[in-house]
């Protein structure tokens, strides 16, 4: 239902926009490459003969978080937004890969929304588990950031030849399990992808990683293999996630996976701490562990490079 960004839909997309970890993605001639915000800021403006488009990712803003190592997650979110705004090549839109809020409180969602408005860009959201904590289990988030979406908040749209799919893997989680997509969403995804040319570049985004980063901490999605099976025939698939507050990446077949940093607080590397709780780094280190960092992945003939940058740059 989001066929393009033109006309009236643009207003809707503004409601849906999300900004991730501050990674910047550039698509040129159907081949994606991405550069970090710092590199983009340093780069001269592109020649007009090339018509790339870019979008930015912001993730895990946790508005309302106020404990070590970050007493004010609103302030660091504002810094990430300023970073996106300062880009010489204005992104077409921003995606936010979830955990917008810390506790799903209205004032947290409201502050996030108001700050994102400063971008003047469409923002596309998917919820994180922290956005499902209202008494109605996610309705507060959907009413504000997910109008017109399916089920627990999934949807897709096309932009300049790239098909974007937003998935929700934080609803109805099962005891002992990890992230979960569920049968209804998988059926929707199958129908959404059916009939699309295998040469269509696909970007999938969801909160929890769609591959198992670390099962002991629940860093994966139980039924992601079924989604990846549906994506396997496409020549260029990029999967963008958040949740783990650090950069990880992997290439499997034609699918490139990448997780983004948080704008609020870092988490430990898998298994490197007793729990995945906030990494309590000294304040002078905090900004170097938030935002975006260099991240590139190259796959076959298609190339999508992600260069993340940090808030300290």
């Amino acid at each position: 239902m989001f066929d393009d960004l033109d006309g009236d839909r643009r207003g809707f997309l503004k409601c849906m926009a999300w900004a991730g970890t501050g990674a910047l993605f550039a698509f040129q001639g159907g081949i994606g490459s991405s550069i970090g915000l710092d590199a983009a800021l340093a780069a001269p403006a592109r020649h007009a003969s090339v018509q790339p488009f870019t979008f930015a990712q912001i993730s895990d803003s946790h508005i309302g978080f106020n404990k070590p190592p970050n007493a004010d997650a609103r302030a660091t979110f504002r810094e990430a937004i300023a970073k996106v705004k300062a880009l010489p090549n204005r992104p077409d839109f921003v995606i936010h890969t979830g955990d917008v809020s810390q506790l799903s409180r209205d004032e947290e969602f409201d502050d996030a929304e108001q700050m994102l408005k400063e971008l003047g860009l469409p923002v596309f959201f998917v919820p994180g588990e922290h956005d499902m904590l209202d008494p109605d289990g996610g309705k507060a988030f959907l009413n504000r950031f997910g109008k017109g979406t399916q089920g627990a908040g999934w949807y897709s749209f096309d932009h300049r030849g790239v098909h974007f799919v937003a998935l929700v893997n934080v609803a109805d989680l099962k005891p002992g399990g990890m992230g979960n997509l569920g049968a209804a969403q998988l059926a929707w995804l199958k129908a959404d992808l059916a009939g699309r040319s295998s040469s269509t570049p696909i970007v999938v985004f969801a909160h929890i990683p769609l591959w198992t980063v670390y099962a002991d901490w629940g860093w994966g999605t139980d039924d992601s293999a079924e989604a990846l099976k549906l994506l396997a025939r496409f020549g260029s698939v990029t999967v963008l996630n958040g949740h783990i507050h650090q950069i990880t990446q992997k290439i499997e077949g034609k699918i490139a996976f990448h997780t983004a940093r948080s704008t609020a607080f870092p988490q430990p590397a898998p298994g490197s701490a007793p729990s995945p709780g906030p990494l309590k780094v000294p304040s002078e280190q905090l900004h170097s562990m938030l935002g975006i960092t260099d991240a590139q992945f190259v796959r076959g003939h298609d190339r999508i490079a992600l260069i993340d940058s940090t808030l300290s740059a």
Binding site: L103, E129, M132, S275, G277
Partner: protein, 118 residues
Amino acid sequence: MTRGFKILTFQVSVIAAGALMMGVVADMARAAPPAAAASVTIGNFTFNSPTLTVKPGTTVTWTNADDIPHTVLSKDGVFKSKVLDTGDRFSFTFAKAGQFGYYCSLHPHMTGIVTVKA
């Protein structure tokens, strides 16, 4: 002599008062035995007593000691906490015998079980 008598009277009064209080406490204990209680601390993304056995009538209190919010949700829908931020508590009294598995709805790899038997 007068002063000594007064001191003695005071001491007797204190002893009498103490005896009276002890009697009251004993009466209270007979009337309402102290409620059985157990506690589970949530820390490092785990329930620190993942298996707990209690008698019927026991009130179990979960306290979140993590910097990240958690929930306590019965697998069978018997009990459900609101979101527990740091330091928040949730209590549930187990009236009947049985096995009650539970988990955190945010981090479902966190699981525990309360066994209630007489």
